[in-house]
Symmetry: C2
Subunit: 446 residues, 2 copies
Amino acid sequence: IQAGDVATLSEILNDWPGADTAALVEDLLPEERLTVLRVLALRKRVDAFEHLSMDLQVQLLAAFTNEEAAEILNNMAPDDRTALLDELPHADKDRMLTLLTPAERAVAEALLDYGTDTVGRLMTPDFLEVKQEWTVKRVLDHVRTHGRDSETLNHVYVTDAAGVLLDDLRIREVLLAPLHAHVSDIMDKQFVSLSVTDDRREAVEVFRKYDRTALPVIDGRGVLVGIVTHDDVIDIAEEEATKDQQLFGGVEALDESYRATPTLTLIKKRATWLVVLFLGELLTASAMAWFDDEIAKAVVLTLFIPLIISSGGNSGSQAATLLIRALAVREVSLSEWFWVFRRELISGLVLGLILGTIGFLRIALWSTFTDLYGPHWLLVGLTVSISLVGIVLWGTISGAMLPFILKRLGLDPATSSAPFVATLVDVTGLILYFTVASVLLRGTLL
Amino acid sequence: IQAGDVATLSEILNDWPGADTAALVEDLLPEERLTVLRVLALRKRVDAFEHLSMDLQVQLLAAFTNEEAAEILNNMAPDDRTALLDELPHADKDRMLTLLTPAERAVAEALLDYGTDTVGRLMTPDFLEVKQEWTVKRVLDHVRTHGRDSETLNHVYVTDAAGVLLDDLRIREVLLAPLHAHVSDIMDKQFVSLSVTDDRREAVEVFRKYDRTALPVIDGRGVLVGIVTHDDVIDIAEEEATKDQQLFGGVEALDESYRATPTLTLIKKRATWLVVLFLGELLTASAMAWFDDEIAKAVVLTLFIPLIISSGGNSGSQAATLLIRALAVREVSLSEWFWVFRRELISGLVLGLILGTIGFLRIALWSTFTDLYGPHWLLVGLTVSISLVGIVLWGTISGAMLPFILKRLGLDPATSSAPFVATLVDVTGLILYFTVASVLLRGTLL
């Protein structure tokens, strides 16, 4: 590249798979990127371009001449093009659309009309249609002559005269059938399809359930309008998992990768939740101020505050994790909340008893050798361990139920993040602890 | 089913896709499940069985007669069979192996010999091999006659006489080529392959990068020994994401689903980490005992303890989430720790200043109207806000660096869970808070 030996570079790179060229381009300096892409044959160039990260695609599109941009955009797979156009500011998107040929522009505009996060945005309209009365030989001939543009040849789709989907045939069925058989002989009329208006998470579920490499997409009248391929779905599944994990960690979901997000945006996305949680935690100061008489009389009680509230937060975080994930992979449904409630009630109680016992033993042990916890250590120990049972139980139940409540309200269950549950449990935990203390220690320490 | 109308049931169900029959079987009573499976034709029965959850497969295998079990096991895809046999107790696994035909047993034993979590365990040895000198027509004829058992017909593999992999051809290339062309004409000798000993997470990465529906697996000598298909990889990607999320939530990864895990196991998996974290948190009680003089003199300081330690925990949880995910999807590599460190240093400082300012304003505001925080509220406010800056900074940096340290040590970065980071920050946060207090408040409150 540095030597500027374009001929050699062209020879080498035109033999590489697009994904590898893309990986190379990602590692280059901005000016070298254009050089590399320009030596590639059009088909290779488009292939490599489609494998680049979205941010880099946007950058390069701005660096291209209009002719170069037009060449790339007209030859990209329609689904990848939709995703790219969607990332552009409104004015740029419109300008790019004018670069397209009328036919490609019609396709692009139709796809952009579907709502964000719908299956319509993921699909490509390049697929192979065959008719019931054709022979297997005719299908293979048709594939040979018309298949070049189709995103996948793993499936062909049988439609009637109106374009209504009748069946999907795996190319496997076609390849294994005698050449003289008819399409109608190998059809089973059993097919799984997505609707253009389905949510894209739904597509992930259907792909997982049926082990397909591509699924047909139909409109309201049953007409085949496109296909969604598995590679797009792997990406979606990963994006959704990232978003859930970020929410759960108490960060607003980043729209781009950690690397590509500017530091200022990164700080803003984190500050929002952090401030909300901080305002929530300010209530702990108010709760404690409420009990300041008790605190002044029995300073020993304050030693266990971090221990108690963090145990509630940890058990809540555990329960929330388990149920957010179980809801996300549809292992548990909303209506089963009561079954989960009872199960977590038992779990919370047992876990609380375990921690309560350890806490009591520790206080008892220390008090045998020191007088750190004063003459009433037995009562202090009881207060701490009873509070632990209560807080772990409460943390577990709130952590388990919050995802259900959020889902019921139409919010993402992953919003019930570890920090969110912890904050909720902190305030209530303090009130519980001091209430138990004021009952048990009245007349002795208080 | 209840009417016992076996003929009708058989007619209906033999037309269903395996995944739907499997979904039906999951919802039935145990005794009905056997009835349903028994009316299915062998191929449908095996297909439905492979789509059942692992737990149910194990249960049903025990309920089958030996003949039924043998029929299913001999006809399952070798990769699904490996996964099932792996779930059985040792004695049962050996008994099931004896039910297999000698040929299938050899295959099953070979696959079980590969280490857990390797690509070898995921692969199936049923694939189509072709030779360089064949014509496209001969390839298609070969597929038609020998393809029935191959798990995918989307790829055929070109090998030499010794079985060494020379190229993988997408069936697309074969279908688009003229019938008289030779395999050597359409080969590009560019192929991506996995090694039997690769980690299965590696397989997820390679599939994602190259958009394939199947990848060839070679042994140390380059000989093609099997293929891995995309459906197995979608499952792995999901399992790994679940495991990461559970670890991050502070739960030991469940081996089975939330639903299938017995309550006692569920409690055990949670208790381990909860107790470890609790023992860590006990250090907070020791840290506070160390400062008990200060606490007794300035009870007002205790009011802000939950606020301060939770802010450290929350910011640590955010940073850990972002970096665990960035490491998991290979967006950031181990060697870039210093770049991350500087970035998080800035983020932590800004976030700390934001929270510190809010905290100070709140104390100043309350002190204007009440004397809750005493005459030295200005110094108390300063102590709290300086501690907040320090703790948020410390939480952010530990949360960001811990995943790197764990990965460097060969552990799963997701182990640096929200609760784990929070616990770490709690102890150090308390020490920081009281140290700042003893410097700022010496001579006034202390």
